[in-house]
């Protein structure tokens, strides 16, 4: 840090108080810090994505509100007449008549305050209410299940890639391979057909039985769990294969490394070599892999929710598409991107804990 202080001293500014000088050092320290850099990048990604989402509808010259109204008219909705004034009031209401730049500034400032605007189809309700309510369901089921699939898949892959593994494991490999090739929502259909329809053990769709009202009673929770099992299985079975195969490849690569030979030469116990040397090193690319495929994971789950009409964010997205409720669609897309960019940021920050070679402080 010495360079910074010298610069501050002989700069032409009047004699700096020690407070000013140390604050420069602290600032340089903070801004140079790895975590802050990743957070700045996270904001950058979200800003670019938001801008792209803002620009796409303006490209086609279509006005989202008028297009929605035309669709309503097409379906022979009640408001056959007076489409133009209705469009005008809507446009004023959503500020679409102002010049593009001010619209953009309002949009970004709203976004900064996490206000995603107002829904067209369910007019008085704000997008925030609709989205965040369904977000609970999605995070509750999908979040936990994805992590579970990642952990189970990585463990299976670790054993599959280890020469001294239990014998029966290789026969598990071929089914895992085919399972990982089937998209999640198709697996969901198969599960519904066999378990729900044919055997009738579990409910066919929905987040909870339609007759009950959401309350915190015990039997409601059991009801929710019964509905969640099939979607959870759909995701876990298709994801486990993907993670296992990835981890198996990493394990095989790691065993070619020099430090594995040296571990044997040290006469270490098999279990220690497996856990502390092979798996511990093979985990690093696996975690980076997780960050890369977050996007496809989320899309897969949106479709699973659609197949099960599970009241998560995916189902709401589907309804919004059917009703072409533009602002809800835009809100959901932004929330999903926020989630993915946020998860990537988290993984970036946690990665140095796994791999000491990544410099965290800038000293």
């Amino acid at each position: 840090m010495t360079e910074q202080s010298e610069v501050a001293e002989n700069s032409s500014l009047p004699k700096l108080t020690s407070l000013a000088r140390s604050s420069i050092q602290i600032l340089a320290g903070i801004l140079g810090n790895f975590v802050v850099k990743r957070f700045l990048f996270f904001l950058f990604v979200v800003w670019i994505a938001a801008t792209v989402i803002f620009i796409i509808p303006r490209l086609s010259g279509q006005d989202p509100v008028k297009e929605k109204l035309l669709l309503e008219a097409q379906r022979g909705g009640a408001m056959q007449t007076g489409l133009d004034e209705m469009a005008k009031t809507y446009q004023k209401r959503f500020g679409l008549d102002q010049p593009l730049w001010t619209q953009y500034v309002n949009y970004i400032s709203d976004l900064a305050r996490l206000n995603l605007g107002v829904s067209i189809a369910f007019f008085p309700r704000t997008v925030n209410d609709i989205v965040f309510e369904s977000l609970m369901w999605t995070l509750g089921l999908m979040g936990t299940v994805t992590i579970l699939a990642f952990v189970l898949g990585t463990l299976a892959g670790a054993f599959l890639g280890w020469p001294r593994r239990p014998g029966w494991l290789q026969y598990v490999f071929m089914p895992l391979l085919t399972l990982s090739a089937i998209p999640q929502y198709l697996l969901a259909m198969i599960l519904i057909f066999i378990i729900a329809f044919k055997l009738g053990w579990l409910p066919l769709f929905g987040g909870y039985s339609p007759s009950t009202l959401p309350n915190l009673s015990w039997d409601f929770i059991v009801d929710v769990l019964r509905h969640a099992i099939l979607p959870a299985f759909a995701i876990i079975f298709s994801a486990i294969g993907f993670w296992a195969i990835g981890m198996r490849g990493m394990m095989i690569n790691t065993q070619g490394e020099d430090y594995m030979i040296q571990a044997d030469a040290k006469g270490l116990k098999g279990s220690r070599i497996f856990m502390r040397y092979a798996v511990r090193n093979a985990l690093l690319p696996q975690v980076t892999g997780l960050a890369l495929v977050l996007g496809t994971i989320v899309t897969g789950q949106v479709l699973v929710e659609r197949v099960f009409s599970y009241p998560g964010i995916g189902d709401i997205l589907f309804q919004a598409i059917r009703l072409s409720d533009f602002f809800v669609i835009r809100g959901i897309v932004i929330v999903i991107i926020l989630g993915i960019a946020g998860a990537t940021f988290l993984l970036d920050v946690l990665y140095p804990l796994l791999d000491p070679r990544i410099k965290v402080r800038n000293t």
């Binding site: 990604v45 989202p64 259909m189 890369l292 659609r306 991107i337 960019a341």
Partner: protein
């Protein structure tokens, strides 16, 4: 001084020139390698076997019956309609025969678009470095955070009309080129540091000459593997898009069949013959593409891994 046994066994090239020599040097190693690479063979057999069956289907079956109301509705598989019919009077065998190649076509168009864009971006950013590299890298990082499907949803809605299959292919390609760009860029970065690239530059070869004469030939197995992976990804995205109702309603693609299945909840109607054929077709497509891409990966990696 690595004691490498392999390099000391000298394969003596045949001396008679022309086709025979080309065959000897170029084809036999590939043939010899292919035989030792089971996943590539099985993958290819599955894919081309299916296409072959679809080809025969075109000849012997009246594919016009894919239009709605061309057959009695909800018929389980019978002699006259071996794949049965759906609630809107479409013959499901015709759908399967037309649908599978159509979906593969979307995947191929998207894959090729993604690969060409990705390769150009990869070479631009990895070979020329500097500002271009920074710009392309940040675009790729942002692209990774924005799932292609969501962007397609926004695009599709604002286009206002149904996309033709080719337009959908290109749209998917344009939004998923970041994945191949990222992987190919890392390979080019590794290759760029090799001594033979520097040597070629010092032998007076131009920048373009180096890219096409020195780097491209070694990258081909890697690019084909990425192409196959992109095609598989594109098919997944296209089916997803169609399944949530944003596909082209007049086209009998596999995705649209899945959409109609969900729309009419064929499962509760017990019409298993409606969703089993598309499902089987999709599974075959994905498993074969997966086997081919992992086979190609293994082929491209040992050569690069041996060098790096």
């Amino acid at each position: 001084m690595a004691e490498s046994f392999a390099s000391s066994d000298s394969m003596n090239p045949s001396s008679n020139g022309g086709w025979n020599q080309f065959n000897e040097e170029r084809i036999t190693p590939i043939k010899k390698y292919a035989l030792r690479n089971p996943s590539l063979i099985v993958g290819m057999a599955l894919l081309f076997g299916m296409l072959f069956l679809v080809g025969i289907g075109h000849l012997i079956w009246d594919t016009e019956m894919f239009r709605p109301l061309s057959t009695p509705t909800r018929l389980p598989p019978t002699g006259e309609h071996p794949f049965g019919t759906d609630t809107q009077g479409r013959d499901l065998l015709a759908i399967a025969i037309l649908g599978t190649p159509l979906t593969l076509r979307i995947g191929l168009i998207a894959g090729i678009t993604a690969i060409s864009l990705g390769t150009v971006a990869a070479f631009l950013s990895a070979y020329y470095r500097g500002v271009i590299d920074g710009a392309i890298r940040s675009v790729v990082d942002v692209g990774l955070a924005m799932p292609a499907l969501l962007i397609l949803i926004l695009v599709r809605i604002n286009v206002g009309r149904e996309l033709s299959t080719d337009e959908m292919g290109i749209a998917i390609g344009l939004t998923s080129w970041v994945f191949p760009a990222r992987t190919i860029r890392s390979q080019v970065l590794v290759m760029r540091e090799q001594a033979y690239v520097e040597l070629s530059r010092l032998s007076g070869t131009s920048g373009m000459g180096i890219i096409f004469k020195e780097m491209m030939p070694n990258l081909i197995p890697y690019i084909t593997a990425s192409l196959v992976a992109s095609v598989a990804g594109a098919i997944l995205a296209s089916i997803g898009l169609e399944a949530i109702g944003l596909g082209n309603f007049s086209q009998p693609t596999l995705g649209m069949t899945i959409y109609w299945n969900i729309q009419f909840s064929s499962i509760t109607l017990g019409m298993w013959w409606w969703w089993v054929p598309p499902l089987v077709a999709i599974v075959i497509v994905f498993v074969s593409l997966f086997l081919i891409s992992s086979g190609l990966d293994e082929w491209s990696n040992p050569r690069l891994r041996k060098r790096v």
